[in-house]
Amino acid sequence: MATFGSFALLIALALAAYNLLAGTLALRLIAVGQPARISPERLADTARRAGIAGFLAVTAAAFALIWSVFTNDFSITYIMDHSNRALPAAYKFSALWSGQEGSLLLWAWLLATYGFVLRLTHKTDVKLYAYAGTILAGIQVFFLAVLNFAAPPFALLKGAIPADGNGLNPLLQYPEMVIHPPMLYLGYVGFSVPFAFALGALMMRYPGEKWIKVTRVWTLVTWLFLTAGIFLGMHWAYAVLGWGGYWGWDPVENASFMPWLTGTAFLHSVMMQEKKGMMKSWNVWLIFSTFLLTLLGTLLTRAGLVSSVHAFAQSSIGTWFVVFMGIVLAVCIFTYVLQRSHLKSEQHLESLVSRESSFLFNNLVLLTACFVILWGTLFPILSEYVVGNKVTVGAPFYNRVAIPIGLFLLLLTGVGPLLPWRATSLKSIRRNFVLPVITLWATVIVCLAVGVRPWKGGVFSPGDFYALVSFAVSAAVLTAILSEFLRGAGVISRQTGRNLAEGIWLLTRRNTRRYGGYIIHIGVVIVVIGLAGSAFNQNVERELGLHDKMQIGPYTLEQVGATQDSNLNYDSAYALLDVYRDGKKQFQMTPEKRVYLASDQPQTMVAIHSLPSWDLYVVYEGENPDTGQPIIKAFLNPLVGWIWAGLVVIIFGTFVALVPSLSPATAALRVPAARPASNQPALKGGD
């Protein structure tokens, strides 16, 4: 199977190279209009077909690796290092992305899959798709070259083949790890598609903004995958690492967050280009940057440039990535310089206070946040290089710098939709902003009254201050968004006699993009409320003998025993803890400590009792070697559940935004003619 896999990868590389060369030649011939012995259209079609065949070849290679994992083929070094016989089937799949070579193969396979879909749907716009397909082939050549020459997944083990493998990293043996990396990779790799369309459209001086409409679904779906991937990673960190948090500003986390920020900026500013023909250069560079940041993230974490608790796979492929990024950047700059006259704005902003400028400020803040994270991630390297002194840039730095920027962005989330296009008047501002501002201040007063105060022990506490501001701004933004829904639904309700809920439904269907976007914003607000809860985290650590108790918040935890279990993959020890509240037993928690047999590595399995108000989070840290007593660390983490609930709302909102809006004709059919409650003319949905 190793030979088959290696051969499939070689074939895939040859096909991708043909796709790139034939595609480039065909597009060049079409562009210059010179007669040639081969019809350029037919040549371009052979390139497209090579891309489709390349997908089959990469799929065969991925299948070969999976097959090797399932058949315990320890003659392959990668399988030896990342699997063992007793590894459960689901985690055998995750062996595919648990190491360097496998994760690169996953990247290549996802890229091939995206390319396959793109090439099958080429009739949407044959020429534009030919450009995009050729650019994707260029990216694919790079990844397949790395897989064939620098990080071969089918490299054979030297010497005798052992009876069993080293097993999968225990940190990765968790359900989320089966879906988190593919989601993240779908997001990372997916940004190659809008990048390819943007670069292709620029190369061919594509008329109009149709390429944006073509790539909208691609970009939104990719963004959704990246968002879901990041949140799944947060949940994994929360449930597995056992430190009670979900985001540690680790370089790997930062690497995934940076393209998310620029991708989000692109999703917003691209609307300006579609509607107003503005910010064309800006958008092109946003998508270029997003793609480059996905590569930079991979470089940072794979090349060992920065240390990270997440760096599961490091090697020397950094040079390959540096060279490739250099080539990509050079191509982007060259194309931009050559074609920049094509990107002139058709209109300009007319006012500092308008919907357009709010998009611009939104982009500014998102990019500043991206810069802060990049700066913080790279500063240790810079400091070591300049003054020879390596420093740590950890959570306190990001909390001080990134949180205020994030709160400003949250504020813009509420302000932007309330501003009209082109320009606004003081009267309009007053009318739209009175309610959110009242809500903001009312929330501040309520929070202060119930004890959310920016003072802890007489000392200013930035955490509590940010929590207070987050709650207040979140309340204001929610008010602003909900009032948008209610205003529109109220008009429909008056026009059609339908109730408010039906009005909201119809309003959303009439402009799914706008109201889907608002739902996503609601999800973001819910996430922010959840994040703000971390300011009030509590934790207690104690050694608990039998029937010893510990108190955290309203809960009393009593150790009522310990038990052990064993299977072929790991040995585990559990602490049994009865949880009491107000003297009454509520439930039992069983935090676990595992020792994986193949790797002889310990791992905590946290017990979490989740409520909307807080999570009771208990870690069995192991036994005190001197006394033999279990050490228990308990956390009370307020509002964590809101973060995961927010993700669900974001996913729902994205799906809504992906659904096509009702056309005015269809919308009219849905409004029964016999039921109008007033004789007002029907309004078109949204814009």
Partner: protein, 171 residues
């Protein structure tokens, strides 16, 4: 005129009441001696190589965090200032024990750069929008008065839509 004055004084009094309420609530802080210990152990790193904040290192038998935490308690007990505590930790464990760059020397650049970039970008954006707004106005004037003035019926229709939908359009 008197109506405007009455309205102004109403908003003024409301603003004063809000400010007073906020000020009163802000000053109601309860004392907590453990807050400083918590704050400081979240500004230092565990040096065992786990890349976690000192207060969040959760390794059983970690040889470093217990010792560091004990030192921190002792230092606080001795009445040392934050700066003195950080100096003592840096002298013993190296600069990487601090969870964030200091605010002097080259480290200061870490703190300044984000705000400098944000400020410059903000200023640049505002200037750009103002320039564009000027260009748009000049273009409209050059096109003649009929291009500037909209049809009154059209304006009334737009205002009606604004009033009914609370804005004029969306994404």
């Amino acid at each position: 005129m008197s109506g405007t004055l009455v309205r102004s004084s109403f908003w003024l009094r409301t603003a004063q009441a809000l400010a007073l309420a906020v000020a009163v609530c802000f000053t109601l802080g309860a004392g907590d001696s453990s807050a400083r210990y918590y704050d400081l152990n979240h500004r230092l790193m565990c040096t065992c190589g786990c890349s976690q904040l000192l207060g969040e290192c959760n390794h059983v038998g970690c040889t470093e965090s217990g010792q560091e935490l004990a030192e921190l308690r002792t230092d606080i007990g001795l009445g040392m200032s934050d700066k003195e505590i950080f100096s003592a930790f840096t002298a013993k464990y190296g600069a990487t024990v601090l969870a964030a760059p200091t605010t002097h020397g080259f480290d200061l650049l870490a703190w300044i750069a984000p705000f400098a970039v944000f400020g410059a970008a903000l200023l640049g954006t505002i200037l750009l929008i103002r320039r564009w707004a000027g260009l748009s106005a000049a273009k409209a004037l050059a096109a003649g008065p009929e291009a500037v003035a909209d049809d009154p019926d059209d304006l009334a229709r737009r205002e009606k839509i604004r009033r009914e939908t609370g804005g004029d359009g969306g994404y």
